[in-house]
Amino acid sequence: MARITLSQLRHSYLPRPTGPDDYVLKDIDLDWHNGGAYALLGPSGCGKSTLLNIISGLLAPSEGRIFFDGRDVTELPPEQRNIAQVFQFPVIYDTMSVYNNLAFPLRNRGVDEAVIKDRVTKIAEMLDVTEMLQKPAAGLSPDNKQKISMGRGLVRDDVNVVMFDEPLTVIDPHLKWTLRSKLKELHQKVRATMIYVTHDQTEALTFADQVVVMEDGQIVQIGTPVELFERPTHTFVGHFIGSPGMNILPCTVQNGQALFDGHPVVLEGPIVAGPADQSGGLTQIGIRPEFITFGETGVPATVRKVADIGRHSVVDTLVGEFIIKVILEGAAPAQGSAVHLRFDPSKTRLYRDGWIATKELEAAE
């Protein structure tokens, strides 16, 4: 178990990258603490699997260093980094029994058979696979196979980090939940540093203490699930996390006041000055559907569509040509009716070129 530090990591699959577009990873700096549960969240192709393979040593980064507990491991091959990785598709040694599968990483390292027996029994118990130990691994169901591949990672008690690369892709939906809670439980038991890569926000948010959101080879935000939800620092995070995602509305800024479709909008705090202030960059207002309410005053809108999804309704409202989604508990107004939208000021923010450009009032105090 170790602290993992990534320093100025860049990677390109091209032999001679020229511009930033040639890089699948652009300047990654990260510090992961010993024993934490982390998730790497991002859409397909954002570079998260590349990052994972760089940490495990399957891929050498074009630039930058990787440290485990301060020790530079950038040049080390995977087997010397003492890591474990669980892949998207379960990797099972078909000709071996479940027991031998679990024992394989230990046998390769010349561990004593008695110790192996002890470790395998313990891990099998944790994973609930004890009764399958003597069965051939080839005949198992996908979720059990995936458990065995996890087990092969956890069976070594000295692993620095266990990495999961979208491990629930091939698992039946009703088993995903069980396996996910199993993972969480395992993390609490073994206290190994775990990194979980996924494009599924539910998986990331339920598993991790800290989520790293990536887009297009960059880290856009690192934070707890609550932070990502409550205060996205990038429109991508707002839009990617949440269901439905954050409303992102074009706006103009005049005299420190944000205007959306001609209506002044109160923000969480003062607007941070942009780099070239006069041009201003692309400014947008971000507000989550959860933080909009209907009231007597506010931005006038018409109700376009109401979707009752059980616990609450998602109401699509129309302001000018823009759709604003509102999440509403209780009775929703009829389609076509005129309403007024009130934005919760403490949850309304201005984004400039995608990045947050307001200061929280508490922070300003």
């Binding site: 495990s56 399957l58 087997e79 990797v91």
Partner: protein, 287 residues
Amino acid sequence: MKKAYQKAWFLVLPVLLLVAFNALIPMMTVVNYSVQETFGNNLFFWEGLGWFEKLLNSDRFHAALGRQFMFTGLILVIEVPLGIAIALAMPRQGIWVPFFLVTMALPMLIPWNVVGAMWNIFTLPDIGLLGYFMNHTLGIDYDMTQNPFAAWVTIITMDVWHWTSLVVLLSYAGLVSIPDAYYQAAKIDGATRWAVFRYIQLPKMKQVLTIAILLRFMDSFNIYTEIFVLTGGGPGNSTTLLSIDLVKIALGQFDLGPAAAMSLIYFAITLLISWLFYTLMTKDDLK
């Protein structure tokens, strides 16, 4: 259970007729010959199982059968490991893949009698490239027309040259079907090169290898043309394998009865071994 649509059987009829005409009926004529004696003029006498009995007790048949097993055994022992080794060494991606695949497939595209003729000319002591080089440059006495050992070396080499590619291509097909994650997981698990081969590559190749070995067994057990063109079964009888002996009896001596009996025994042996091998190799998969 739902009642099956019985008229569908008629769809199988054309195949049944085809098989009947090109396999069953010719085979029945062989069965017919095998229990009779003839002196020509279309006069046949009942012989019962006499030919079978004589053949199974004949030294000539035992010798040919022994040579046949030796030939098939040797080429399998060489071609299978060599084929796997070459398949492992071939690149799995990149611009060279088509080049290697086509190069590998080339020997298999050459007609069998041409292969025999090529190797005949190639190895002739005084004019052949290899024969001349061995005898006159290296000073090694190598003459497949005179020396049984040289003849054996030549037929084995020829078969290895002609057919190892089949094992290579089938093994290669098995290898490229293995996802990268397996190799990555093995690396992380600290597996040695040998363990990767033993627990990942070999199991994934098992099915195609079974087919490869089966095909190589059947083809080599029935080999005729190449050896007939190359050595004609000589020198002496040293490379007279079963099929060559069979043709000598059937067409050389025109002993239809013994030849027919031999054909049936020959066929039975090929079938039995193929069946045994296939059953043993696939019995785990059925469980």
